[in-house]
Subunit: 342 residues, 2 copies
């Protein structure tokens, strides 16, 4: 507890989003630095990850894994241990795991994501992005759920987003012809030039259905979906025999008050003997150590480019979540809160 | 062409069903017995299978695999060869394959379902039911798509129908705790006493959601769905981690003018790392010879009971399809048209 900063600045949930997320859904607060308890550690938060599932958790009771109104907002973070009653963690350690939108947090070893030490030499942006849950969802979603065969046609939605930007490149590395759907010229340029996938469709200015027909005249083998809603039906309409729809997220849901409409074209799963399968990163947590060296190898060889969109300062956490919610980010959305102590 | 009956009685599609199937969707006609052409055979139809996909084909252009208005209705049939210019087929042979609602048909060897000889000793009802496409869909849907693990909980919809009555029993044979959903006491009694599955829910008189909650307090591992619509959402709501939804049919669709609503609870596929996969019998056609002896073995040992609902007479074909459409049948719906020549 060698820190002079005795106040603990926090963002608490003021109200669940009512059809639209705004900065007004959060309240700024100050409290004391939490006191340590048995089997916990006190950490100073350094970097925050921004993930669409955070929005779904707002206003949901804690028993259901959510953040009730008045609670400090959850996040996956990279943090530095200040004090520890967890045997595996020592002051100074840099850790990755479940934390909160505040300067200092009391964390447990076994939260929604187990708190693990960040390996030496892995910077926080990679620990939260390509080597974090985001990269793992992209990796296992593409390799284990989609099971790609070289030469197949793969369409990725939200292809310039956190998961999409990695999944699209893993598809390309695995020999797929990858077509990314993204919003705006900058994102599509990034997909073509930096992610080096076959083609990009700008859903803000182009007719996505017509472009898919032109680019996929024989249909789609793998539809890697982060969006849901109408674009999922466009994918199901074009799915090939033995095609696979990977469900990684439903960003279109976050814009709605109610549940998203179901995919009306799901009968095509019967007609095409096709499969639609979802995944959460948590489910593959035991296998992260298997994927990390593969992803790191691709990063080092240059086959894989890690793209992050980095905001700065705890005060900007709500604004940064709204930025991701509005799909303004290119690549993984992160927020840098503080530098570690040396 | 040793047949005295020179007229060929037929049922033609008068109009596609407009929100509801009735006998008025067909017209009775008489024409000549078709003449043989190269690479075809003339058959006398003996037994017809009734399958929900037939309804979807009505009024659809022939290029799309349908039966246009004015065309003779399609069916899978057991027939006897009268004349043949197909080397593998000889007069007198009993064959299984694509045919038509008429006394005599000109068939091809390679239709939607390849025409194959019915093995000696296999009666027509089994050839079209448990050992036909219906049984194959149940078998491969349960063994290959659902991949059951002993002790898992499995819910089958339309469990007293053609596919469902076999799938539910295969689930039981594979060590699953099978709960069938069916309409009416007679069907539920059959499921408990003859199919010998763990439990049956009567959707006509019981609250299906409440009964599923009571019978599956830990959720559903395998949801084998022949119905679609609201009951599919009840299944998705209760799907367990790594659960599987097998899509075999969408009978609720046939009651609608438009496409069925999509399953709004599909986000659970993400939350539960679950899989929803469809199948058509056609896709497993190459593997029918592998499944047939297994099914026959279960039939002979008494582990599997074959249930058929048999109507009689070509004149009753439309009425029999309406019967299946209204879910009045228990087990596989068949129609006997004629006896074979000795």
């Amino acid at each position: 507890m060698s820190d002079a900063h005795q106040k603990n600045r926090q963002w608490r949930v003021a109200a669940p989003p009512d059809g639209r997320l705004t900065e007004g859904n959060f309240t700024w607060a100050e409290s004391e630095v939490p006191e340590i308890r048995p089997d916990t550690a006190i950490v100073r938060n350094l970097w925050f990850s921004f993930d669409p599932t955070q929005i779904l958790a707002m206003g949901v009771p804690a028993e259901q894994g959510g953040v009730p109104v008045g609670g400090v907002m959850h996040t996956i973070a990279v943090s530095q241990v200040i004090d520890s009653q967890i045997p595996a963690l020592r002051p100074g350690d840099i850790v990755h795991g479940q934390s909160y939108w505040e300067d200092y947090s009391r964390i447990e070893e076994h939260g929604y994501f187990e708190t693990t030490r960040v390996p030496p030499g892995v910077p926080p942006n990679l620990a939260l992005g390509t080597l974090g849950v985001t990269g793992m969802v992209a990796y296992f979603g593409m390799t284990e759920v989609a099971r790609p065969q070289p030469g197949e046609t793969c369409v990725v939605t939200a292809a310039a987003g956190g998961v999409g930007s990695i999944a699209a490149q893993i598809g390309r590395i695995k020999g797929l012809r990858v077509i990314g759907i993204a919003g705006g010229r900058e994102k599509c340029d990034w997909l073509r030039k930096e992610a080096r996938i076959a083609e990009a469709i700008d859903h803000r200015t182009e007719d996505v259905a017509a472009r898919l027909d032109a680019l996929c005249p024989d249909g789609i083998d793998i539809f890697f979906d982060n969006v849901g809603g109408p674009v999922l039906d466009l994918g199901l309409d074009r799915i090939r025999t033995h095609g696979r729809v990977v469900l990684c997220g439903i960003t279109s849901w976050y814009l709605l008050k109610d549940r998203p409409p179901g995919p009306t074209r799901y009968p095509n799963l019967i007609m095409k003997n096709a499969r639609m399968e979802g995944l959460l990163g948590k489910d593959y947590q035991d296998r992260f150590p298997e994927a990390a060296p593969v992803l790191l190898g691709w990063l080092r060889s240059g086959e894989l480019t890690s793209k992050e969109d980095v905001a700065v300062g705890l005060e900007n956490a709500p604004r940064t979540l709204v930025r991701m919610y509005e799909s303004a980010n290119i690549g993984k959305q992160l927020l840098k809160v503080a530098d570690p102590d040396p």
